[in-house]
């Protein structure tokens, strides 16, 4: 092999493809070879789409030959196995959808297909995106490319690990409470969770409808910005999707942060967080200051209620969203003599423990007599959290914070303690509740070489601001992500 085209950034690959120095077939083949080499140890993919990918690459090469091909034409991507892909099995890492092949594409998939992107495989995740470590997968956990004994983070762990391990150039994930930013941070790649409604959710299997948002993983901010631009935009099939025009995010990447006001929330540097994580993030902020940005102390006083509110709202919505998996029309069906038995057995056998736990939590939160005390109160807290941010953004342009309190933990370390697992998301969940754009950018590593992410948060639809800050940091900090030793 030796060409290692799979290690290129999208920007590099795009330029070389356009200059016809390489073909998408060569690029895709390098990715597929890398996948074949590392997957036995990594388990980043549930399904590898070798034949489909090569066919897409061939088509992309034809388009590239005609000139005027879009940015992502011929670029190999990983797709979290939560996106419906026409003709390709879509499992959501659940036994209940183990045999499900959708007859349609998610809108985002359709858009990327139209761009000429190549889909190398369906990436692993926590079942129905419920988890923070990708250990809740019916297809086994994804391992961290920097330490195979550690988790990749979740729920989009497969997508993050695949990008980190150079199995593809970028990947799609989804983020409901941190599911893009957390694994991006754990695996040392860039991950963006856009503003709620920025990207269509049609065909993306729903976990919590008011929180779920689609976003990219990539090895550079610029690459992530390119994928985001291709994915974002109005969709007549998603009534919650914004009609706002999509800016050319690449043009926001000026490398300039002079005069930018960066808010640093007191509540995001807490007792008990890993000292190295705190120091690394604070060092990154100092460097941004040295580059001309100004940091301001801010307060997000309702941060402490975010996890509780999230687990009421997300589970309530999930309890209804997952009711359709009943064994009647598609997916797994347990043998049974009557309706009730069919539901009970199919769902008992088809769902994993964490999914069942959240369905039960959510069903309880919506039950007669409890709605006001739980779901409604959760929504009120959500309003308070949104106002915290509105107030904060009066005195700053972006907010900077750690992504998680620790670096990637060991496999199995938190699986017996759901609450500890839930607390991995304390710094990411508020952003989903407030519907804001957030991003994780690699900013260092701990003593074991495990990556640490810097979280940048913007006001609604201020993706350009966080992208500019992240890109400026990436270019000027001198920090380079080490290649994982696999």
């Amino acid at each position: 092999m030796g060409s290692d085209l799979n290690r290129l950034t999208i920007t590099e690959a795009r330029d070389r493809l356009r200059r016809r120095e390489i073909t998408s077939r060569e690029l895709t083949r390098d990715c597929l070879e890398r996948i074949a080499a590392v997957e036995p140890r990594l388990n980043a993919f549930i399904t590898v789409c070798e034949d489909e990918a090569m066919a897409q690459a061939e088509e992309a090469d034809r388009r590239l030959g005609q000139g005027d091909a879009p940015n992502l034409c011929g670029i190999p991507l990983g797709i979290k196995d939560i996106y419906c892909t026409r003709g390709v099995r879509t499992t959501c890492a659940s036994r209940i959808l183990g045999n499900f092949t959708p007859p349609f594409d998610a809108t985002v998939i359709e858009k990327l297909r139209a761009e000429g992107a190549v889909f190398v495989g369906k990436a692993n995740l926590d079942e129905f995106a419920m988890g923070s470590s990708t250990e809740n997968s019916a297809f086994g956990p994804t391992r961290n490319p920097y330490d195979l004994e550690r988790v990749a983070g979740g729920s989009s762990g497969g997508s993050a690990a695949a990008v980190a391990a150079d199995e593809c150039l970028a990947a799609l994930g989804t983020d409901t409470g941190g599911s893009i930013r957390l694994p991006a941070s754990f695996c040392g790649v860039v991950g963006i969770k856009p503003t709620y409604s920025r990207v269509s959710r049609y065909g993306v299997i729903a976990y919590a409808s008011t929180l779920d948002q689609v976003g990219p993983f990539a090895r550079t901010v610029r690459d992530a910005a390119m994928v985001l631009r291709a994915a974002a935009g109005a969709d007549p099939r998603d009534s919650t999707c914004s009609a706002r025009p999509v800016p050319d995010y690449e043009r926001a990447l000026t490398g300039e942060v002079r005069g930018m006001r960066i808010g640093v929330p007191t509540e995001y540097f807490v007792e008990g967080m890993d000292a190295t994580v705190e120091r690394t993030v604070r060092d990154a902020l100092k460097k941004l200051e040295a580059m001309g940005a100004r940091t301001v102390e801010i307060s997000l006083p309702h941060t402490g209620y975010a996890v509780a509110a999230y687990y009421l709202i997300a589970t309530a919505e999930a309890s209804a969203n997952l009711a359709r998996y009943d064994g009647v029309r598609y997916g797994m069906r347990a043998s049974a003599d009557n309706n009730i038995e069919l539901y009970n057995r199919t769902r008992a056998q088809g769902f994993g423990a964490e999914v069942k736990r959240r369905i039960m939590l959510g069903t309880f939160a919506l039950s007669a007599g409890y709605y006001d005390a739980y779901y409604l109160k959760g929504q009120k807290v959500r309003t308070l959290i949104r106002r915290d941010f509105e107030r904060a953004f009066e005195s700053c342009d972006v907010v900077a914070a750690p992504v998680t309190p620790t670096t990637a933990f060991r496999l199995g370390e938190k699986t017996d303690d759901p609450l500890q697992m839930y607390l991995s998301d304390i710094f990411t969940i508020s952003v989903n509740l407030a519907g804001l754009p957030g991003m994780s950018v690699p900013c260092g590593a701990d003593g074991r070489g495990m990556p640490i992410g810097l979280q940048l948060i913007g006001p609604p639809f201020a993706e350009e601001a966080i992208l500019r800050a992240g890109d400026a940091w990436e270019r000027s900090s001198g920090f380079a992500r080490p290649a994982p030793q696999l």
Partner: protein, 479 residues
């Protein structure tokens, strides 16, 4: 039935299939009678990841209905998820409107019965929701047809303002008339376009508090609505009279045995876990859309009745009967266009035509002659060619034979004699035979005039034109 001691309190929840080409949240067709699972797509089959998109036309039809029923159109309303498991409910929840419906309040005015005032039945709300699919049970399996899944429904909920089964049926007819008139529904109950749940309770007359109610489901014809209410009211009165309490429960109408029976608790869920549908933003209706729809509203049934009454000089009761059944009104109009007096035509339709329909048990089109023939018959009455009684005999014969008016009158020899010479001859015969009475009359017993008329008519076999008979007799007796 209800008596001096008890009265019934009835409220109706009507589900109307809306007259749209596509479903509520996807583009699938709504045709009735397509092969099973033909009109389906990922959205109405609840494939993973799909999202609903609201059909704009449905909202406009609901606003039309709201305006036609004097309801308040809520400019901000919200869809909610109503959760329960059933094989014909693919998402495991129904998208409906819950605490923030599209229309609130309003009323429907019913035409008066026989005498009395029009009655106003108040509405609680009108909201939009999607229909479920259909389960089909065979000996070996249960099958699911999702053609109906996602078909738009409007639920129209009345206050418990109805007091009798007949009134409930009047309300349903009026509501159906409105829905058909504004184009919101085809109103075909037999195809399931209108389905009705009835809430019934009974209380002592004069009481203001409501008794415990039962809800009767599965009523898909006017007749069943009436029968189910009659049955349920009687049952409740018997229970109360026997000192038992009425359980607040859901009953199912059994059309075979014509009874209601309580549903097993498993047949309906009791905690629907409603919460706002997160996949649909609140429904915001721009005020100018309401104004635009208002300006395009057709003439509503109540207005039609008023105009009818004015144009034809009929009472509101008469108009109510004529327009209460579409085919009756049409029949009436087809008679009137033949320049038959409207009052005569109305009376004829309401008595002779309705009687023929009721006695034969056949639909109007088969039970009575074509309106052209009935019109011809009534013209003969107006032109004094036959008597009213003769027309009644002729009409009955026409209903049986299917023959035309002219032919029937000729066959039965019912034509009236107006020829003065023949009448004078008959008069002469009678006066000659009744010399004594003639003398009494001329001596001042005026009352005997009627006796002479009757005798002349008898002598002429009932065919003498009464007007001419009168004139000739008076002249001769004076002579």
């Amino acid at each position: 039935m209800t008596n001096d001691k008890y009265e019934a309190v009835i409220g109706l929840e009507v589900h109307a299939h809306m007259l749209t080409r596509s479903k509520l949240f996807c583009g699938c067709a709504t045709d009735f009678g397509a092969p099973p699972n033909h009109n389906v797509c990922p959205v109405c089959m609840a494939m993973p990841g799909v999202l609903p998109v609201l059909n704009r036309h449905v909202v406009e039809l609901a606003i039309r209905t709201g305006l036609a029923t004097h309801s308040k159109i809520e400019l901000h309303s919200v869809f909610a998820r109503k959760s329960y498991f059933y094989p014909d409910l693919p998402k495991g929840y129904q998208i409906s409107q819950y605490d923030e419906p599209l229309c609130r309040g309003g009323y429907i005015e019913l035409p008066p019965r026989q005498s009395g005032e029009p009655r106003r039945i108040r509405l609680v709300r009108i909201h939009l929701e999607e229909d479920a699919g259909k389960n089909i049970h065979t000996d070996s399996a249960s099958l699911v047809d999702l053609n109906r899944s996602g078909v738009p429904l409007m639920e129209i909920v009345s206050e418990p303002d109805l007091r009798t089964p007949e009134e409930a049926v009047d309300y349903l007819r009026e509501l159906r008339g409105i829905l058909v008139c504004v184009g919101a529904s085809d109103g075909k109950m037999e195809e399931g376009s209108l389905r009705c749940d009835v809430n019934v309770s009974v209380r002592q007359r004069g009481a203001t508090e409501l008794g415990a109610r039962t809800e009767i489901k599965n009523l898909n014809s006017f007749r069943f609505v009436e029968k189910a209410i009659v049955y349920e009211v009687n049952r409740q009165i018997e229970e109360i009279a026997a000192g038992r309490r009425i359980a607040q429960e859901t009953h199912l109408w059994d059309p075979e045995r014509e009874v209601t029976r309580p549903m097993r608790s498993k047949e309906f869920a009791n905690d629907y876990r409603y919460f706002p549908e997160p996949d649909l933003p609140p429904l915001i209706v721009p005020p100018d859309l309401v104004e635009k729809i208002k300006a395009e509203m057709p003439e509503l049934p109540a207005q039609q009745r008023e105009n009818y009454a004015k144009d034809f000089g009929l009472t509101t009761y008469e108009v109510g009967v004529l327009l209460g059944r579409e085919e009756l009104g049409e029949y009436f109009m087809n008679i009137v266009v033949q320049s038959v007096n409207a009052k005569t035509a109305a009376n004829w339709v309401m008595t002779e035509v309705l009687r023929a329909v009721n006695e034969s048990g056949k639909p109007l089109g088969e039970a009575v002659p074509k309106p052209q023939e009935t019109g011809a018959l009534l013209r003969m009455v107006e032109e004094s060619r036959i008597s009213l009684n003769a027309a009644k005999s002729a009409f009955a014969a026409m209903c049986r034979s299917g023959k035309g008016a002219e032919a029937t009158v000729a066959d039965l020899g019912l034509a009236q004699v107006s020829d003065e010479a023949s009448i004078a001859e008959a008069c002469d015969r009678v006066l000659a035979a009744e010399g004594a009475k003639v003398a009494e009359y001329r001596a001042g017993r005026d009352k005997l005039f009627g006796f002479f008329v009757g005798a002349v008519m008898k002598a002429m076999g009932g065919k003498g034109n009464p007007k001419v008979v009168n004139e000739v007799l008076r002249r001769k007796l004076a002579g």
